[in-house]
Symmetry: C2
Subunit: 406 residues, 2 copies
């Protein structure tokens, strides 16, 4: 091996995720995470080993690189895997090609054109329905027919490490006649995975489920920050708006769909049967372990949730087929998030709303404090990895500190 990769690293030779980084001596550019290092692809390009226009590797987003197409980007990934294993490869004896992750600044990996958030975990939708609507009829009539989704705000998607301020807004206190204004009292995370589109369509085109994977470049961890009290007051009839668009946080490394192939598993049985345009063949779910930790200011982290991406009722191929069945066009860099990923167990729920069940079951922290929702000073960290015997492919983390309202 050209460079040491610690055992159990998320960024194993099997992964090779892409991201945008900068360092003291390097402007923002494309890199690949390898163990605790980053391989600087703009520097590799100077060795004249790539047969595409390598200007795309010097950009401050991955969009142009992704636009080269999977044939090229997959070949780059394969080449890097091969070179890392070959002591006589072009990368050998060139330590300047590698930078320590601890010494760089990570940036948003893509410029997001449009962002869509789905609602595809049946456990999450059921939990929310029980709490806010009818416990006997928790799922709405359309839920098992439609991968329900809505448009979110692209401008406020930020990368791991950037803190957020507690948002302010309108809420209607219990038994009040009129709303009040102030910082949200119910700030929440949502554990999600987002996929990044890898290919454009034209307005009027639809993507069949069997072609959907050609349009997915890769995945990131996605924290869909939510203000539950603002959401409750504003969301009827047109959906969540200010309760969501103050920030969404993502992990900086885009794990390619190809790196996740070994972890494909069958999804849940869909009953009633879906309409033909949503039917699919093969295993389209992914076995990706997920967890969420909360770190109170100056204290240690408590893991509050263990979940798994394989629980999703609707898979990404169905989401993309549905999104485009009316001819809606997509662009490289568009982000589509899963919706909160909850499992069946109480500790697998992907939000504080569910974990503390609307504040009725506070969650204990290691420092003795309790949480119904997220406090000022808390840092929320999402992590994810897939493991299959010795093969591990991970996402790293998305970690965000909550500062008091401005």
């Amino acid at each position: 091996m050209i460079i040491n990769i610690p055992e159990n690293s998320d960024f194993s030779i099997h992964n090779i995720p892409f991201g945008i980084f900068s360092a003291e001596d390097r402007s923002p550019r494309v890199g690949v995470a390898v163990g605790e290092h980053i391989l600087d692809l703009a520097a590799v390009a100077e060795l004249d080993v790539f047969e595409f226009n390598t200007a795309v590797l010097e950009k401050d987003t991955l969009n142009d690189f992704i636009s080269l197409g999977k044939e090229i980007t997959n070949r780059v990934r394969k080449k890097i895997q091969y070179w890392l294993k070959d002591d006589h490869s072009p990368l050998a004896g060139k330590p300047e090609l590698f930078v320590k992750q601890s010494e760089v600044q990570m940036h948003m990996p893509v410029s997001v054109g449009d962002y869509t958030d789905f609602y595809s975990s049946i456990e999450h939708a059921t939990n929310v329905g029980k709490m806010f609507r009818d416990p006997e009829n928790a799922l709405l009539p359309n839920w098992k027919h439609i991968p329900v989704g809505y448009h979110g705000r692209a401008s406020s998607i930020i990368v791991s490490g950037q803190p957020i301020h507690r948002p302010k807004g309108q809420t209607l206190p219990n038994n009040a006649d009129a709303p009040v204004f102030g910082p949200t009292q119910r700030l929440d995370f949502e554990l999600e995975i987002g996929f990044i589109c890898g290919k454009d369509t034209q307005l009027g085109d639809s993507i069949p489920t069997e072609e959907a994977e050609n349009y997915i470049f890769g995945l990131v961890l996605f924290n869909d920050w939510s203000a539950r009290d603002i959401q409750k007051w504003e969301y009827v009839p047109l959906g969540p708006f200010l309760a969501k668009n103050f920030a969404s946080s993502i992990s900086p490394w885009v794990v390619t769909l190809e790196a996740l192939k070994p972890f494909q598993v069958a999804g849940p049985t869909q009953e009633p049967k879906v309409l033909p345009y949503l039917a699919y063949e093969g295993d389209k779910n992914y076995d990706i372990n997920l967890e969420v930790g909360i770190t109170p200011d100056g204290s240690e982290e408590t893991t509050v949730c263990h979940s798994n991406f394989k629980y999703m009722y609707w898979n990404m191929a169905q989401q993309l087929a549905h999104h485009t069945v009316n001819g809606c066009n997509i662009h490289v860099g568009d982000m589509m998030a899963s919706g909160t990923i909850s499992g069946k167990e109480d500790d697998s729920f992907g939000s504080m709303l569910e974990l503390a069940w609307m504040g009725t079951k506070p969650v204990k922290m290691k420092d003795g404090s309790e949480r119904k929702f997220i406090n000022d000073g808390d840092t929320v960290t999402l992590r994810g990895f897939a493991q299959n015997g010795d093969i591990r492919v991970g996402f790293g983390e998305v970690s965000t500190k909550v500062l008091p309202a401005k």
Copy 2:
């Protein structure tokens, strides 16, 4: 005058709207509509009369031009007004600076980062509430407290002249147990006006109502195409999605907020009183006459709606203050649409849903046919202009033909 401007032209000397055009001998670039002509600003720049980096005038969107800031863009507008009136100006005797509008191709004026649609007409919200919810309590409890809005799809905003295909999707027929798939049976327009953001904010910043106008570059006509049967089935609980994101059509000329100043009028009284962050001073509504025409294939146009932008309950300053009160950031080029602009009279409703009252009052066309919604082959045209004595400032039109489902 350097060039003849027909009486009653939307593009009078008082207007000077900006857009992007191309012609046989000219790549896409910034122009200004003047009467029946376009003043080619990229060509004007070659006369060395501007004191900013004129590369922005050779771009295929207005974003970089708008980003120069209002101090510069307003000065450009004033200069052009002055030059057009002055027979000895730099534009005199240079016919190559002008192109006939009939000989150009118009393009999307801006690259839209994020698009938000509001729901700010009380007449429209009341009509929809009567039809779909409770006629006795048509307005939802939050409506008079919040300028309700939701995120739309930016990628499918298209410019006047580009046809659309009737979208397909899921609908639940009356009395059916399960949804069916096919072309929408209830294709509708929505008469709206959209404003284009002219200045960035940072995540965490809020825009007070009194500063909102500094963040609005200009306005366009906006047709928020809607599939009512798809909307009805999908919109609970997260809002409209595929019923809207197949296309929205806009007029190509961006009329600056400054050109519309002479048409400011008082808005309706807001009772109950709004929260302090939504309070405003001065006249923030705009008296802009609006109309919608439907032209069946091969037939003549029937005007089906006369409305006015002054009817809006919530004004643009309130919309922008609300949108950013939680710290949501905006970018130059972001689009914010008003929501359907309906008046009190039956013929002032801004959608077929309301004009034909859910299909119960079909609308007569001049050719003898009737419309409950929009048919294949129909062309829908929105027009708008403001007039104050001799001063006329218009938007031109946004015109879109509906083709059969693909």
